[in-house]
Amino acid sequence: MRPSPTRRLAGLGAFVLAVIMLTAIVELFPNTVVGAAIGGALATAGSILGIMDSAYAASALRLSVPIAFAALGGIFAERSGVINIGLEGLLILSAFTGVAVAHWLTGDGTTAVGPGIVLLLVIAVLLAVAGALLGLLGDTTGEIAVRAGGGVLATAALAGLTVALAGPTLAATWLAFYTAVLVSTAFALLFAVVTIEYRADQVIAGLAVWLIALGVAPFASNVIWGAVNSPGVDTLGTWTVPGLSELPVLGTVLFNAGPVVYFLLLATPLSWYVLAHTSFGYWVRASGENPKALDTAGVDVRRVRYAAVLLSGVFSGIGGAGLSLGRVGSFVGSGTTMIDGRGWIGITAMLFGNYNPFGAFGASLLFAALDALQFRLQQLNYAVPDSLMQTVPYVTVIIVLALVGRTRTPDAAGEHYESDED
């Protein structure tokens, strides 16, 4: 028996609520009987509760960024019928690209915004041309010109606005972020072409994207920096909401966070809205469940699937660059890179969340909370060895997969679709 979506959501909700409540209690009543009682009752492994303060919650939210964005991207792709298990690779590529471009623009103590804008626009133009050549932007020349031109202009406007609003170094970092998102999107486009145009096995092609990224990022790091790890770069900093950030608990967790955290808090409900309430969302679902129904209703399944896969690239780009530029401020390319399986965990979060953006977000938060716990315990010098603590999220993923079992995968997921026209 598979658990019903309601049960699944209820479980997730309970977990998230429990974390928030525990955090709030400990934060609000640190020295009271209630706090102590709860603390005493639950702190089986030393004083875990002492760790679960609002800083812990904030760090869990920060850590959930790459996982949750990968999960959101995966939702769009898979619900449209394309299983994108290359998300891990897209995260790696965007994490690397962000740092590489940021280092290029801001390294050596000088800052150059101009080349960043040029690079960004060149990639945007290339993407637009590729989209036009693949027939994704429309049927008539006018339509194609308007859409391609509009896309490039919008990118230019965004870059211009960023430069106008932020100081040169911060602007350069943002330009690097945008570039990373576009590069991730470009790789998603490659994956889409391979699977949709050339009918590649989606699982194998996704593995290939991962393995390519696992080779390319350290390779390029070595070329540029002579080592697989990059030197440090500036991060995107934090956005503090005036007034609200003074609130207890919530202020620390929600209103004094990195910009990418805000993006995530925005992207989750937006994704849900798009899937549930817009025509595009209807088409994505139909394309994954019964592409022929969509085709006979006169909607181009191919374009819907391209759009969904590209979206997974955009989201993964935000997640990957959000990790490297938003939080860490460097790229680590040794071993399994700094992404270290977060894309795979994102896929699990997507399954656990039953392809629902809110569910996936909650599940991502759960995995991130475990990750944060591990960091905190390490910081506090608990006796548990690092290397064992590091396995906790991975073990949890396996347990979750075993408990969730078969989710209701979209009927046509993984299947190539060919319109009947001869």
Binding site: T278, Y282, E289, L294, T296, A297, D422
Partner: protein, 520 residues
């Protein structure tokens, strides 16, 4: 008189190696119900796919309302007011009725930022109201019955402004009573000025529901007749080109012990619904026990539980007098059960294997072909050659991959392989589906031959003439239950129809055979 709604002139459609339509003419008057009659493979569906823009014709003209048209895609056909209801519904099951109907044409609000669900629901409700359809716009499609889903498909076409509705074998999945409701819908629609074309190979339906009938045979049209004045016999002759006599000769056979039986069998489907609900049946050695019923009433699940493809939720399955309820499939094969599966391309054959390897499917550990786990490929190939020869499988090449065979030849190979096991019990699920007429008779003869050798045969088929002709006793399934076991020679088609719909007409001729000394 106005121009006909649809006028197909000299339509030819050539596929690689197959001439599917050969200069077919079809004229359909506005506001009429027109039937397209023919055997499987006569070219009916191809012709309709041409009209719907799915195929471009090799030759000929499509004229709609007096205007010649060229359709590059269904989109063009939809714009010209043509709607098609496919045999396999084009519905997105987890989505609601409304979402399915408006798919691709969703009413928008907020400048396209959201689907206007209110307006969509109203439009659907209004449409349903106008044609007297009883549907709940907010229901999820997968919760609806097949008949209701079909009406959603019709509404979908109407929502897109269809004036001409094409229905591909609309009655194949319906009970006789649902069929009647569908024909009622036809009346509503034609009164509102819509034109209906429906594909069928059932004579009685055609004469009941249609105004005019066009008969196709081997891709050619062999004439259009007035449905009111034509007789079934005349239509049948047009269809097959010769007089059909379908009578199977069954010599009496001494019955043995019980070969195959179930007791209070309950099988649940993936969703936990009882697909088979308390079925008791006994098939004696030397008897053909037929199962009739509309597809999807638990026959597949019953077969799965009998053959070991599924584990029942409750009850027992017996092979001979051995309880095999929880015995794995392997043991049932070893104990002498043969099984002709319904889905030959998923189960019955490994499509990428050649016939030698496919001949081993199920017998890969049989000492006849394997000694201590090592397969003797020479023997396997000889075995495949024997089946090929005896059952006239073409191409006669044991090295040919299964996917390179036509459906009929694939089926013959499976039947040959299973019957060659020298089984004690046979479960045959739609053994002649998609097989040419000559092979059908051959397979029937083989089945009856097994019966004479004292094999217990359970035959599931949706072809009523087949189950009636071959069975000694006939069980009727409805909604997972074995409604009744009747005498196939005495029962009328009407009574059978009622039983298939789950009703119990009075005085049905019961099967009176005695099985294994026990009264039924």
């Amino acid at each position: 008189m106005s121009a006909p709604a649809v006028d197909l002139r000299q339509i030819t459609k050539q596929f690689p190696g197959v001439l599917a339509n050969d200069e077919v003419d079809l004229t359909v008057e506005r506001g009429s119900v027109h039937a397209l009659l023919g055997e499987n493979g006569a070219g009916k569906t191809t012709l309709m796919n041409v009209l719907y823009g799915l195929y471009r014709p090799t030759g000929g003209t499509v004229v709609i309302d007096g205007e010649p048209r060229t359709f590059d895609s269904p989109r063009d056909a939809i714009d010209a007011g043509i709607g098609m209801i496919h045999q396999h519904f084009m519905l997105v099951e987890p989505m609601t009725v409304t979402q399915n109907i408006v798919l691709g044409n969703e009413p928008q609000k907020w400048g396209g930022l959201a689907v206007d669900r209110e307006r969509a629901r109203e439009a659907v409700a209004e449409l349903a109201d106008r044609y007297g359809f009883d549907v709940d716009p907010t229901a999820t499609v997968e919760d609806l019955s097949v008949g209701e889903q079909q009406r959603i498909e019709i509404l979908k076409a109407l929502y897109r402004g269809a004036d001409v509705l094409i229905l591909d074998e609309p009655t194949a999945v319906l009970t006789p009573q649902e069929v009647e409701e569908l024909f009622g819908v036809f009346d509503e629609l034609t009164e509102a000025g819509k034109t209906i074309i429906f594909i069928s190979h059932k004579l009685s339906e055609v004469t009941t529901a249609a105004d005019a009938v066009t008969v196709l045979r081997d891709g050619k049209d062999v004439g259009t007749v007035d449905a009111d004045s034509v007789t079934d016999t005349e239509l049948a002759e047009l269809m097959v080109g010769r007089e059909v006599l379908f009578d199977t000769d069954k010599p009496p056979v001494e019955l043995g012990d019980i070969g195959l039986a179930t007791r209070d069998l309950v099988v649940e489907d993936d969703r936990g619904v009882r697909a088979v609900d308390g079925v008791d049946l006994q098939v004696a050695e030397g008897e053909v026990f037929g199962i009739a019923g509309v597809d999807g009433n638990g026959q597949s699940e019953l077969v799965d539980a009998l053959t070991g493809m599924a584990t029942p939720a409750a009850g027992q399955v017996f092979l001979g007098n051995e309880d095999v309820t929880h015995a794995p499939r392997r043991q049932r094969i070893d104990d002498g059960m043969a099984y002709v599966p319904e889905d030959r391309q998923a189960r019955g054959l490994v499509m990428s294997y050649d016939l030698t390897e496919n001949g081993l499917l199920g017998s890969q550990r049989d000492p006849q072909f394997a000694s201590s786990g090592r397969i003797r490929w020479d023997d396997a190939e000889t075995h495949a050659d024997d089946i090929i020869e005896e059952y006239d499988v073409r191409p006669a090449d044991a090295d040919a991959a299964a996917h390179s065979l036509s459906g009929g030849n694939q089926q013959k190979f499976i039947v040959g392989r299973e019957f060659a096991r020298d089984p004690d019990a046979v479960v045959a699920s739609h053994p002649t589906r998609g097989v040419d007429v000559g092979s059908v008779e051959f397979i029937h003869d083989q089945l009856l031959g097994l019966r004479e050798e004292g094999t217990a045969v359970l035959l599931v088929s949706s072809k009523l003439d087949e189950v009636r002709g071959l069975s000694d006793r006939l069980g009727v399934m409805h909604d997972g239950e074995l409604v009744d076991v009747v005498d196939p020679e005495e029962i009328t088609e009407e009574e059978l129809g009622l039983l298939m719909a789950g009703e119990r007409p009075p005085d049905v001729p019961k099967a009176t055979r005695r099985v294994g000394g026990e009264a039924q």
